[in-house]
Amino acid sequence: MLDFTRFFVEIYPARWAILEGVGMTLVISFLSIVLGTILGIGVALSLVYGGRVQRFAVRAFLEYVRGTPVFVLILACYYLLSQLVQLTPFQAGLIALTVFCSSHVGENLRGALLALPRGQTEAAKAIGLTFRQTFVYVLAPQALRQALPAWINTASELVKASTLLSVIGVVELMLTTRQIIARNFMSLEFYCLAGIIYFLISFSIERLGRRVERRIALPS
């Protein structure tokens, strides 16, 4: 069972490795959510406002990515890209998670945009706003509010999916943990530690998200 004395003896030399692992988990999750959101906005815009061909192409991409497990995306990106263009595991993993994120954000934002009542666009047009102005000042602020809860969910999904990057050799928290356990065989203790850290990250994202949601909620 848990051996705390030995755990504290073992954790000291591992402290930097663990911190670096946490850092890597946070960095790659953060980068992929930022890049994935940018890409996802593009996806949503093409789906809602794009021409026929553009809509079809983006829709096909979206269905393909959303039907594919994120682990397969990661492995495919890793094997494919590292063979074709010599990418590091970090770069391949970042691309996979970004694509994964963009599909979620894209679908989510598309839904939010389409859910807005037609009258909003008409009222904006009626006072003479151009399409771009209508989008920026009227549609986007409402759609982003709508999309926020699902977006928070995507963020915490990404942190969880980042554990799979350990399989392709990205030294994030999961791989760090496994490396430490390989040295000291204290699997229960160090898995517990990793579990607590993952829980805290994911839980804080959710809590933070709820706070933001409350802050931007419209008074009624």
Binding site: P69, K160, L188, Y198
Partner: protein, 222 residues
């Protein structure tokens, strides 16, 4: 670049891929639709029950599991249980166990949502015609609630089925595992991964379509 598409090595091992897909589906159906469903229903009723202890236990379970990666849970089940507790399980059992507990937490949320969305009058009407609390649950609440939960259940099932790919990391011979094996043996990178992901996409589509049919069949006429 001189890459020539050649699907032959993939087709040669296509039955392996198919068997992997089948194993993934079986694991998903058993863990999600059988075990996970039971856990989810029980925990959802626990979460809406009057007993504070039950509510706390159920919500702790849901909160903890939903905030942990399935990959992490799988590794703990597969490595820690045998090493530290001497529980001998093989990799398929380990994964099915993991997925069941994981799915249970997500399905709890689905059913809890469906329960909360029911009109309050439903239970009262059941009680009013003389059914006991338990009978009301079984004959009135459950049938309505299950139908309402169906779309969310279908989404969750698809996403949990996709999670079976994670089992490849502990060498459970499902689709992703074989795809990786073929990849390593033949280096037909593009071919194998496009076929593998297309198989997932196709199955997800079929599941979604199938569940939509079920949904329509069971729909309450209005």
């Amino acid at each position: 670049m001189g890459y020539q598409l050649n699907f032959a090595p993939v087709w040669r091992d296509f039955d392996l891929l198919l068997s992997g897909l089948a194993l993934g589906l079986v694991m998903a159906i058993f863990s999600v639709l059988v075990v996970g469903n039971l856990i989810g229903l029980a925990a959802a009723f626990a979460m809406t029950s009057r007993s504070t202890a039950l509510r706390r236990i159920a919500s702790a379970y849901v909160t903890i599991i939903r905030n942990l990666p399935i990959f992490f849970l799988m590794l703990v089940t597969f490595f820690v249980l045998p090493q530290q507790f001497g529980i001998r399980i093989d990799k398929v059992q380990a994964f099915v166990g993991t997925l069941s507990i994981y799915a249970g937490a997500y399905l709890t949320e689905v059913y809890r949502g469906a329960l909360l969305a029911l009109p309050k009058g439903l239970r009262e009407a059941g009680l009013a015609i003389g059914l006991t609390e338990g009978q009301t649950r079984l004959w009135v609440i459950l049938p309505v609630m299950l139908r309402n939960a169906l779309p969310a259940l279908s989404n969750n099932f698809i996403s949990l089925f996709k999670d079976t790919s994670v089992a490849a990391a502990i060498a459970v011979p499902e689709l992703t595992f074989y795809a990786r094996q073929i990849n390593n043996n033949t280096f037909r990178v593009i071919e194998v991964w496009s076929v593998c992901s297309l198989m997932y996409v196709a199955v997800c589509y079929l599941i979604a379509a199938g569940l939509r049919v079920v949904e329509r069949r069971l729909a309450i006429p209005r």
